[in-house]
């Protein structure tokens, strides 16, 4: 791939051919405000906030504009600023002013864009305010959908389509009535949604937000214990309790993605009924035992049942390496090919 040089607001930057202007700007640490763009997804060009002027001539959107050698881009042209500002003002005029209690507060892209383009109370007060009052969809056990906060960037729709191939949601209705909807506008829990939460983490506002939970005091980097994939996670910890999980962007295995269990299924860790020691059956009753006692018991019983009497069923919750060892152990030590695997979570 060859490299090209473009100029953004007088700054010469180099970019790879095939990049969009927005990608090139981001790769060079330049901020062009945007709402519907997400690095993991194909550009949609719907929010119109990343509007720029190309070669002092054409007003267009930077997220779909391929870089070209010698291209001159202005993000501060007065006409560009005007369109961008009005567009953001329109979004805010139709957005609930509940920032302080909002899940997305301080990480909200709409807030960021609003600050950047210079929204003031005076500029907003010129507008007729109107916020939708669609009831919250709380049907999903892990996250809620608030259509009233939705800015219709479509990131959730594209995530579900391009990344997850589930297509549980899409656009419905038209005009101001348009909204992101499941098939037949049923509650999300009745749709084909698998609750992976990939859309939730990408939502730039809090139209999709995890059910109210405590914020962590610190994060611990770990590996998800659910299956052999071994996704990288950051456990959000408060005191000695886990209050949240997020995918590790740096982990080469999952690059930030998680499934429903890894992302939302962490409450078992602090569950009072969770087993914390081995149990050994004595006189028909399971009683707590030490690891040494338990392992000794296993050695004893296994030695008595070598050969075709024995079968091993391995779990998808352990690593591939451990699964390998189980079959090796079953064949080499127990002397049988009776080995199977549940092969699913």
């Amino acid at each position: 791939m060859s490299s090209v040089t473009i100029t953004i607001d007088g700054i010469k930057i180099s970019a790879e051919e095939g990049m969009t202007v927005l990608q090139a700007a981001q790769a060079n640490g330049l901020y062009i405000p945007n709402l519907c763009n997400h690095p993991d997804l194909r550009p949609a060009g719907l929010c119109r906030v990343c509007v720029v002027k190309q070669d002092d001539w054409k007003i267009t959107i930077s997220c779909k504009l391929p870089v070209k050698e010698g291209m001159v881009i202005s993000t501060e042209d007065p006409a560009v600023q005007q369109i961008r500002k009005n567009t953001v003002e329109l979004l805010i005029a139709n957005h609930p002013m509940t920032c302080l209690t909002c899940e997305a507060d301080s990480k909200c892209e709409l807030q960021r864009v609003a600050h950047y383009v210079g929204i003031t109370p005076d500029s907003i007060n010129r507008y007729r305010r109107s916020v939708r009052s669609i009831p919250l969809d709380t049907s999903n056990p892990f996250f809620d959908i608030d259509h009233n906060k939705c800015i219709m960037c479509g990131i959730c729709v594209r995530t579900c389509d391009e990344l997850q191939n589930i297509n549980a949601i899409d656009y419905a209705q038209r005009g101001v009535a348009s909204l992101i909807s499941t098939l037949g506008n049923k509650p999300i829990a009745e749709s084909r949604c698998e609750s992976c939460g990939e859309c939730v983490v990408r939502c730039p506002v809090a139209a999709l937000a995890t059910k109210k939970s405590l914020q962590p005091m610190r994060e611990v980097r770990s590996i998800c214990s659910y299956c052999g994939v071994g996704c990288g996670i950051h456990l959000g910890v408060r005191g000695d309790k886990i209050v949240g999980v997020r995918g590790d962007q740096e982990n080469p295995v999952n690059r930030g993605s998680l499934c429903v269990k890894g992302r939302f299924g962490y409450r078992f860790i602090n569950h009072p009924e969770r087993l914390t020691t081995p149990l050994v059956k004595k006189d028909g009753v399971l009683v707590e035992a030490s690891w040494d006692e338990a392992l000794d018991r296993i050695v004893e019983k296994f030695s008595e049942h070598k050969g075709e009497k024995f079968a091993a069923l391995a779990s998808a919750r352990i690593t591939n390496e451990d699964n390998y060892l189980i079959q090796k152990f079953t064949r080499a030590v127990m002397g049988t090919n009776n080995i199977d695997h549940c092969a699913r979570l």
Binding site: A44, G45, L46, C47, R48, V49, V51, I59, T60, I61, K64, L65, P66, A79, Q82, I83, N86, T87, L90, L91, A93, N94, R126, Y127, R128, S130, I151, M152, G154, D170, Y171, Q173, R174, G175, V176, A177, S178
Partner: protein, 629 residues
Amino acid sequence: MSFAELQKKARQEWDELQNGDIPQIIVGTATCGRSAGAMAVIKAFEDALKEKGVQAVIVEVGCIGPCYAEPLVNIAKPGKAVIAYRNVTKAMAAELVDSYLIGDDPLPHYTLGTIGEKTVEGIPRILDTPSFKPQERRVFRNCGIIDPTNINHYLANEGYAGLNKALGMTQEAVVDEMKRSGLRGRGGGGFPAGRKWEAGLKAKGSQKYVVCNADEGDPGAFMDRAVIEGDPHSVIEGMIIAGYAIGADTGYIYVRAEYPLAIRRLERAIKQAHEKGFLGKNILGTDFSFDINIFPGAGAFVCGESTALTLSIEGKRGMPRVAPRPRTTEAGLYDKPTLLNNVKTFSSAPMIITRGAEWFASVGTEKSTGTAIFALTGKVNNCGLIEVPMGITLREIIFDIGGGIADGGKFKAVQTGGPSGGCLPEALLDTPIDYDSLDAAGSIMGSGGMVVMDEKTCMVDVARYFLDFTEIESCGQCVPCRLGTKQLLDILKDICKGKGKKKDLELLVELSHSVHGGSVCGLGQTAANPVLSTIRYFRDEYEAHINDKCCPAKVCKPLIAFHILEDKCAGCTLCARSCPVSAISGEKKKVHVIDQKLCVQCGVCMEKCPKKFSAVECVSPKEKIMEVA
């Protein structure tokens, strides 16, 4: 059968009908005629013919345009001029059979004029009447003349001659002819059709498509329907020629599902074209094959946008594709090179090939050749579909063809181009009709809607009306269009209610420019045109609403009040008896009074008050009542 033989046979059939011994009763039964009662008129003719034992053929044709004269019936008696009768009723049908078919009195007071070269004393030639004289019938060449369900009628009138000729030309020569004709896309955008065809030809790909946009969605525009219902083969022939020119083998007609008659006519025409060998494998013995599918529209205005339309055919949600994107001619339907044109553009193609580019360009202006079709409506005397040479002025259309303002009113504005167009004032009445002049004036050619408004029209209310439409019909994907049209509408609604603020005008203009510059597709980009053009030319009306709470046209109900003039009221009680909310009190022969708290400003009292008294007055702002009182 060779084309020459097909044509010869068709001409024989046509000539026999035209020069036969049996009178013809030709009834316009397009949707417009039907809704005006044409089917009942046919029944009345049949009954009268049967009862009196008169022999005549009843032929159903499409629409020739003048809605104000529907139902239209042409009677062709052997050896006589064809006479067009207007507003024919069941009673008139029986009378015409008696007087004209049995007797020889053509009843001139019922006529619109005569058609053709022959004349009848006491009846003008229709083309000499002020309403038709400035018109040039090209796309409408066969509408209202031929039976649209009979392919032979079309064949006898130059039909499929363009295709026959095109198949003997190279693809490049066909494209070149289209380019030289100067035809610009009749869907409203005005992109040179020949250049689009050229791009379609040059586009690489073994699979290409031709798509006809018949998703006519502008309120008040129905010319595409008239063309399809009146002359479906012209559209089909144009599409086949286009298919040959660019190397496509499949065509789609995306037609409004709300046009059931048009769909039936197309289905029938496609079947007939297959039977005659104009569609299907090896058309007219060449190695060119082409077929056409009909796709009933999904019911959204935005599906008339070319990229939304192709997505809709694919079964997806009709949302315009976001630019920068490849042109439809490079990646359109199913991402294949696609030539998409409007009904009228395709219908023009056969004429251009048959008669040549020079003939086509002989009318119109240098940059806008040919004719334009408008749906002339609103406060004009003669509303209906008109076809005029490009370059004609708005004044000629409204005052000659349209017969001036209805009810002796005064002209105020004309809105062209449907919801995306603008309102032009009296000072611009001499603007010539062509793509560029209308654009410069702040309006557009658009799909050809033309609404004439008189002084009783409130321009703020007009802008509100159009924004109401675009707000609902926005696809909702991009912010400036989805929320911008809503904001503009909310502000306009407030202004109409007298709740406008001083800074609203500034905000309307600012937002309009941003909606124009920021929106994804043409719908959004032009949505603010009605706002911008009314502010540009009728700013004083906005200011009156905002500053004085006054609606000068006395339309906006919250800003008007009705009042009974003491010195004129004769106490006839008519108003009190008509008031739907019993807001008027007063005894017989005594002055009546309207209770302003109860009044809903419906205006019935003013309508009912006998002209000789004219005692009810409408005032705006409302406070004026206090002054009067």
